[in-house]
Amino acid sequence: MKIHRLVENAPRQIIAESMSDAPGNAVCVSVGDSIENFEENTLRGHGTLVRDDTLVATVCGVVERVNKLITVKTLHRRYGAEVGDVVVGRVTEIGGKRWRIDLQAKQEAQLMLSAVSLPGGIQRRRTAEDELQMREIFKEGDLVSAEVQAVHQDGVVLLHTRSTRYGLLKHGQLVEVSACLVKRQRQHMATFDEYGVGIILGCNGLIWVGIPSTDAVGDSADADMDDASLLESIARIAQSIKVLSRMQMMISTESIGQTARLSLEHGIHASEMGRGDFLKILWQHKE
């Protein structure tokens, strides 16, 4: 039986080793540090406050300047919903003509009954019967993909699944990462044709890896899940995402594809991708 030693803080060690060669040019601040004098026309963004004409940091992070806007970007923060974001969440509660969805954000999101597309695709008014059969569509514990419809003043997020692209997720695996690592792109749903695996990159950091949505209809999908090579591909993609997250690298369709390809080139099995050796290879490839 093989036993592998866990290297404590392997990502930190790997990054620290490479850092000693070239110092970064990012300005890192801690809480309470003064950033600079507050001029008349500077705009202060998140993570800052003005005290006695100086701009002071309220969080620990990297100072970012865009023209006159100065913000402090933290390493990771809970997801903040914006209209149009594709998200993946789990149903926690049903009631009052809505589903409550947990997005791992600052507040729970709501999916109204009027915001889902009914089975059959017909457009009609929701009746009391529909309300009683909400559990037929999504029940507690189900994973769904949706789009952010609106964000109210008090922070309540409204979702909708008014498209065949969104809806119930099955036949796959969920990977949770920090929301800051998922770049906002044009396309959040992608398919890796060479593996036959589809992903949904939720902006809230929940990423779905599984059978592509177009193929996941009927009983054939259930049978597909018994296919060992498909399961291994799903595991490989999921591990690529986890490894990128451990090394605090940005997650996008390209970076996931590159990581998966890298692991195949080096002949590393999906279960061994989390080990220090592959992390080192990945870091060197990035440099």
Binding site: A26, V29, S30, V31, V56, L75, Q107, L181, M247, M250
Partner: protein, 243 residues
């Protein structure tokens, strides 16, 4: 029992105004939004922060600001003899309230209305100054979670034994029968957010002790700041684009 030798050395070989050895590790738990461990000599404390998140008890929901919940507990193996403490341990409840009060003054609660921030502090090894180490660890965990704060919050303790003002006492000195003063500080704002005193002390000595402990707080704050900036520098390197 002699706590300060004629040469001015304490039981563990320190001078009267010397802090214990400090150590901090940030980002130790995967599941928490923010986490940290903080060591002051042999006292070792771990803090975990969850939030800002949805308020669990609707009756506590505040539409204007976030609410803070704090829980302090000591591991059964943290003291010399293995002791199991119940949930209604009075000392733990008191320290939980102290930490909550200190953090409420530090966190910018008005920026996160209708949410809840949970802070859990666990003492892994107790050798005096646990509430100070708890506050410091909680601050590091909050910083790791990216929660906005008005200033660094740091805490330190001190006392008066054998006619000497002592800084950062360990358990043996704590049990010496002299006063135990705890100070919590916002160093840049120069504002005291916590002041506790156990036992009897004269007003002049009290002022001396408070001044010394405030100095100790600032030294702790400088140390924590260094640890945070180093942590950010390391982790930010991976998020930067190549080149």
């Amino acid at each position: 029992m002699e706590y300060v030798s004629p040469e001015g050395l304490r039981l563990d070989g320190r001078r009267d105004k010397e802090l214990r050895r400090l150590n901090a590790t940030i980002g130790v738990l995967q599941s928490a939004d923010g986490s940290a461990t903080f060591e002051m000599g042999n006292t070792k404390v771990m803090a975990a922060v969850f939030g800002p998140k949805e308020v669990e008890q609707r009756s506590l929901l505040d539409a204007d600001k976030a609410i803070v919940r704090c829980e302090y507990s000591m591991a059964t193996f943290s003291t010399g003899e293995r002791r199991r403490r119940g949930k209604s341990d009075r000392r733990a409840t008191e320290i939980s309230n102290v930490i909550k009060n200190t953090l409420e003054q530090t966190i910018m609660l008005e920026l996160m209305p209708r949410t809840q921030i949970d802070v859990y502090v666990q003492v892994l090894q107790a050798d005096g100054g646990t509430r100070c180490a708890s506050i410091n660890a909680a601050f590091l965990a909050l910083a790791d979670a990216g929660i906005p704060m008005r200033d660094i919050v740091c805490a330190c303790s001190g006392g008066y034994l054998d006619n000497t003002v002592l800084l950062d006492m360990n358990y043996a000195e704590d049990s010496g029968g002299g006063p135990d003063v705890v100070v919590g500080l916002h160093p840049s704002l120069d504002r005291m957010v916590l002041l506790q005193c156990d036992n009897r002390i004269s007003i002049e000595t009290f002022q001396e002790v408070v001044d010394l402990v405030s100095e100790g707080c600032r030294a702790v704050a400088a140390f924590m700041r260094e640890a945070l900036v180093e942590h950010i520098r390391l982790m930010a390197a991976s998020q930067q684009p190549r080149g």
